[in-house]
Symmetry: C2
Amino acid sequence: MRADQTSTDLTSADLTSADVIRETAARLDALDRLAGCRDLFVPADGSPGHVPVTAYLDGNSLGRPLLATETRLHELVRGAWGTGLIRSWDEQWMALPYRLGDRLGDVCLGAAPGQTVIGDSTTVMLYKLLHAALVHQRAVSGGRRVDLVLDRENFPTDRYVAASLADALDARLVWIDPDPAGGVTPEQVRAVVGGRTAVVLLSHVAYKSAWLADLPAITAAAHGAGALVLWDLCHSAGVIPVGLDEHDVDLAVGCSYKFLGGGPGAPAFGYVATRLQSDLASPITGWMGHAEPFMMGPDYAAGTGMRRFVSGTPAVLGMAGIEDTVDLVEDVGLSAVTAKATALGEFVIGVVDGLLSRRGVRVVSPRDPGRRGAHVTIAHPRCRELYRQLWGEGIVPDFREPGGIRLGLAPLSTSYAEVATALVRIDELLR
Amino acid sequence: MRADQTSTDLTSADLTSADVIRETAARLDALDRLAGCRDLFVPADGSPGHVPVTAYLDGNSLGRPLLATETRLHELVRGAWGTGLIRSWDEQWMALPYRLGDRLGDVCLGAAPGQTVIGDSTTVMLYKLLHAALVHQRAVSGGRRVDLVLDRENFPTDRYVAASLADALDARLVWIDPDPAGGVTPEQVRAVVGGRTAVVLLSHVAYKSAWLADLPAITAAAHGAGALVLWDLCHSAGVIPVGLDEHDVDLAVGCSYKFLGGGPGAPAFGYVATRLQSDLASPITGWMGHAEPFMMGPDYAAGTGMRRFVSGTPAVLGMAGIEDTVDLVEDVGLSAVTAKATALGEFVIGVVDGLLSRRGVRVVSPRDPGRRGAHVTIAHPRCRELYRQLWGEGIVPDFREPGGIRLGLAPLSTSYAEVATALVRIDELLR
């Protein structure tokens, strides 16, 4: 646990009783420099038809809305949509996917302007960039590079899209089998890449285990073999620094409804390094990717820069929450967000070790905070039943097959007290 | 002009002066049974930084928001998102694309349940359904059916996506050249379809001319040759009856931010006839199209029904306005909406003939109301300059290259007075 997050020097030996855990959580919240951010969110503790939420530990699946987003959506409906009407496309919305992409790239991804764009779902954006990369790599290698390296613990959409594209483009899937409680290592990547490798597709933070991949080393390993790398940033964007430019990443995609606060089904983002943009072609050649969309000419001519990776009309409502969240992350600093994610994770692990291990609960996420994203997954044979019980009581973690409770730690909205509430209750339920 | 819309029996001979036109518009508004619907929309006549809109004639490009949508979005942020949080996926959002698709199908498209789904942009939805249809037709014909029939006046995204898919799938584009002021006829389709035709891709209402294609006859012509037909309903959904089931349509796509009020970049819809669903496969195999998304299993298994045509996480915010608009259309009846669209169009044509023709303005949309959608395009050599001037004054029609002003007639929100304001001002500017 980092010094700037707490002045106490806790070990799991201390965290053996509900009282101590609750007191510790209160002390950590009092010391938390980001604690005030919680007041910026729409209150989660009461609505008609719902049990009030007392502990929300699923901000890594659906982030809570900021009050600013409620206001922004209201103003959008009344203003830019309701009275600006069609004029707002010219005035702001045509540029929005690029402007907001650049802001996201700057604040959260370590990407210089002109490389990040907002649009589509993560699945569709992934399809487009992976398709483009596979076609390009085959072409420049004289047909030699056809291998697509991925891992069996990657998020389903990544695996399914990869498999379909491999079928469609006659590529070959090369599977890595990571430790389910850990993740893909640079050594595993080095062992499989070579002169046939076209693309390496991996998640920065594993959606189950929270394993934080060694992005710099794996990117370098892929490049060493002449491959491109496509990183899925769904579980890192907005909470863990990425350093896309610094580490020479080629391509990335990610979703915005987790730590980026875009709301349910908000659009994804895509990143393509400037050096590659003109060589890659989206398979979905929509009018918004055209160099001059409103000329409506006879033939498609791909736009320059990130425009060519846009297909349809940008989803403006879904960008409101992203904008507010990026503003807030910039305001407090991504490093403070990451530090609190780490500290919350250490607290979870301390409580599991001190209190819950005697009930048979195990941590199945990395214990090394340098290799862990912003959630901690715990396992117990009764996890499915536990999670149902907890939801019924307004304690809301996530559940992931086959038997893990995933505790999402969204640093801007999650308190130590919420963590304590959830874990102490799990202890009671397992008694 | 239909009897139920006006008791006056106007001809263009009457509509020769600004005063008569304004008085006529006032009389028509007073008689309009849908006039009260205008009060249901967010007022468009004032916002900081914008010239107040006095005539909005671009509801066929971006529909105005309903006040109910402002409320629904507010409640969504406070309620289902802000306090329901992740639980709302189980409780309502997972089903929303299907439930709302069914509602849209019922009220606006003539589609029985289980055939319409909301998702993606129109471009992406078109890509998926067209890809699926081309692959299927080739397979069942032993490789013979490779022709994709389309027309040169179709919306750019349709032409661009068709061209890319023809390249990717080794299909052959067969172009129809329609009358630019009219559109594709059944005869033109019959002349080109045959044993090699895989798919006929056309717009129900042409985006420039407003030509309303003879959907039943063209669909029958395609079927007569063993082809599938994919209709783009962007400019008819919500304003012109479609009759998808009645006319045995195979596939359709459309957008929701025009007459369906979804807001800027709201998700598209897709329709696949029940009889075809299990034979077609989406090229974009995202987790949300899986038979059991949350099993997160190793291999993709396409869901049944429309689920298999869903890719990523549904865009919930963008569905709010669609829901309210479908509710309103159901309330007043689609036939009343269509009747007012026709009547508004007749009024436009009457004024152009009576007042503007002497300034050299021509109608380049069908004069036959039975072959016209819900906009009227007028042409004049100075259209581009006119449209800029009008926008600056808060009179907002659309402009489409090479030289047409498109007057969008959204029956729920457009008044005859707005039409009069715009056309009288055009007359003044052309003096």
